[in-house]
Symmetry: C2
Subunit: 232 residues, 2 copies
């Protein structure tokens, strides 16, 4: 803040280009969607390697906004949920990059159906990406799995109204594990985040399912559950 730069190059020296004094930086977003029972990530395919949607913030632009731009440029939509993940600095012989990574979540129902579908890749069968992108994606999956347990991220993967089975399938897909139907329903209902729309959906030769919607009101977002009671 008040520290004068004491390590300036001598008067006639110009900074060496091969040793950059200022890093390249960019924002990369891991954008997820659910497609049937697959968890998919959006990747731009350019050349032989695919890459995460990336953007460089404009001067003064907020990081969140820049992350949103990256998403829009790749899949042409407003994502439903966005969260900063981690910032890391990567250097080799002659490049120096600072990467700010984001996790995003979107719902296929809100996507323009005309958009290119080839950007979406099942997380378990990803194309070749850089080692860095690979790390970021893995971290995003871990974070998504953890956060689905104590936040409402899952709702942003689903359309405005949905059946309890659809919600459960979303959880099962992300956790990659089956969940007990009765316990799951008890949990989400007693969590008081759903309201019934009263409507039903009939889609086959069986009993129609009630449609629910997410009660946005008290979205706890980054709520953490410490092992002590919340109030004294």
């Amino acid at each position: 803040m008040n520290a004068a730069r004491t390590t300036m190059p001598g008067p006639e020296l110009r900074p060496a280009v091969a040793q950059p004094q200022t890093p390249h930086f960019d924002i990369r977003t891991v954008l997820f969607r659910l497609n049937d029972t697959a968890l998919e990530v959006a990747l731009r395919s350019a050349g032989r390697e695919a890459s995460l949607p990336a953007s460089r913030p404009e001067p003064g632009e907020s990081l969140d906004t820049a992350a949103r731009r990256a998403v829009q440029a790749t899949v042409g939509l407003q994502e439903q949920y966005l969260e900063q993940l981690y910032t890391l600095s990567i250097a080799d012989r002659d490049t120096w990059s600072i990467i700010i990574s984001y996790l995003g979540v979107s719902c296929p129902a809100t996507l323009p159906a005309t958009a290119d579908q080839s950007v979406w890749h099942n997380v378990s069968t990803l194309p070749v990406v850089t080692e860095l992108d690979q790390m970021v994606i893995q971290y995003a999956v871990i974070r998504l799995r953890a956060k689905i347990g104590y936040t409402t991220i899952a709702f942003h993967l689903l359309p405005a109204s949905f059946t309890l089975r659809e919600l459960q399938q979303a959880y099962e897909t992300i956790l990659n594990r089956p969940l007990d139907k009765r316990n799951f329903r008890r949990r989400v209902i007693s969590a008081d985040m759903l309201s019934s729309t009263g409507m039903k959906r009939r889609d086959g030769s069986h009993r129609p399912a009630l449609l629910y919607q997410f009660r946005a009101a008290h979205d706890p977002e980054s709520y953490l559950t410490p092992p002590w009671p919340i109030e004294s």
Copy 2:
């Protein structure tokens, strides 16, 4: 990655200095210590406003290393635990900064006793700092409180060996709430993170306390506890 810069200034135009095209990068660390029953933060006092220990990453330097430098320059020690918090972009008329914030934790016993003690400030009676530093500190406190519940951060605030009472006091200070002695002891012992040193400390006219040490082996660090069983 493969995007050519398309918005360059015209041939004879030099970039305006007042509208920076590239941000300053600045790392700020919220470093905590426990002093008796107070939770303290390290701040540099320069002029009328105090400020968080900050540093600018050197070319190619990792962000963690730069954060450590900031700590060392302020309190002259290696902190015990360091964790990235959040990255944010701040712009006004003619500056553009990207701030990468860190949370650090240290133990007074490992501090050089000769070092300036005036950098330490009780978190509940902080001097005037910038609004940004204020935000970062508040966020760090929230994160520290949450993480103490499911990680081993607390051990890094204590010397190598300590009594159960000291450990409990550390928790109570950070959570700002009394905890039940028997429940606390049961919890930390069954968590299997302590080993008894067999030694006792006598420090008054009362029964001496057993000294414990932290079993570093399985430090779960960023372990999150989802409400589902860990293995299928």
